[in-house]
Symmetry: C2
Subunit: 195 residues, 2 copies
DNA sequence: AAAGTATGTAACCTGTCGGTAACAAGCAAA
DNA sequence: TTTGCTTGTTACCGACAGGTTACATACTTT
């Protein structure tokens, strides 16, 4: 880079992180890889971001990695539909975003301050929804949390797995048709539970 | 090793793989690590096993990584209890075995012949059970597969996650109490579904 | 114009990885 | 005893990782 423009350089570096993360995951986003993909000397990575950890933290911060989806207001009489919509959105989000899948995968093998922060935020957001659903539906909160955990947990797992594996319990987790089947099961469950 | 005993050496190497896998996972089981933990020259790893891939394949083969649990025979009138028992066993298995958790984690980031083989076997075993439950209960097979996927998927996810994270949706996934809550939810679900 | 500072690069250092070559020591068969 | 095979070790190789030093080039301020 002959152009002397710090802002642009920082942007290039962050974009390179994005490319690497989406293609190969956070594990592959090392100094040398980021330097070569961005076409910027690695010295500048240290100079402008301090370390790889801080660079990745900045990347996570920039790409607001959490439910920013808008939901319909929950009323006493639409708890069931609201719940279905939440999980539908969760599935869409994960299936659409390679970076998010890579983040969830990384989280399973790593523990650092940035990840801990994301976990706390996720925990708060999720528990807000779970609390609201419990209040509106009259269901025991542990039960609601349990159901929610079964769904988001397996969805997270399957979305990560799908990058290396096409079928799980006969479900085609790589194709829309497989996920429609799973959505039907989730709807079925809610119909049985919220009677 | 001054004792010249090929069998013993091979055993030492495989034991070292086990130690490393349980403590740090398959990703950490490289030639150098195995050599230093086993106290054996790495040359012998190549000589006796060919490559790391083959060594790990042998390790997987030796440690029969799949449901060897015995279940009560399923009858028409105990499908519900049978199902609960299957998932209870699945949870116990994963929670007890660090190596199995590491295998499931490794599976999310890797694709190789050994893993593909394990997946096929798991798929067959799981579908056998799902088919049987569907037949005995009269439930649609996609529905049974879906429910099964929700449970085993989230259990797999949570067991892996628990090594780095204590709480998920207010559930203490590191302690028995958290898992008892989840088991209660699973039982609740089956009670609602198999009416 | 001169001095100082921000931005950039090339080259190098140390450590570790997977992998191999060369050699030493034991054992077994001729 | 000598020949040959198995089992073992040491030392090395090239590739690449993270990280730093030293230096060149441009822009700003006085």
């Amino acid at each position: 880079m002959t152009t002397k423009d710090r802002n642009q350089t920082e942007r290039r570096i962050l974009e390179a992180v994005g490319k690497i993360v989406e293609a190969e995951g956070f594990e592959a986003a090392g100094v040398n890889a980021v330097a070569s993909v961005s076409g910027v000397s690695k010295v500048l990575i240290y100079r402008y971001f301090g370390s790889i950890e801080q660079l990745l933290a900045k990347y996570l911060e920039d790409n607001d990695f959490w439910l920013n989806t808008e939901f319909p207001a929950m009323q006493h009489d639409n708890v069931k539909e609201f719940s279905k919509a939440v999980f539908r959105a969760y599935i869409d989000m994960l299936r659409k975003s390679p970076a998010l899948r890579k983040l969830y995968r990384w989280e399973l093998t790593t523990n650092n301050p940035a990840i801990a922060g994301l976990r706390e935020r996720r925990e708060r957001t999720a528990m807000d929804i779970i609390n609201a659903v419990s209040r509106q539906s009259g269901q025991d909160i542990d039960q609601v949390a349990g159901i929610s955990t079964l769904i988001t947990g397996s969805v997270s797992y399957l979305c990560i797995l799908a990058e290396n594996c096409a079928v799980y319990n006969s479900l085609e987790i790589n194709s829309d048709s497989g996920w429609e089947k799973l959505l039907k099961t989730i709807d079925f469950m809610f119909d049985k539970i919220f009677d």
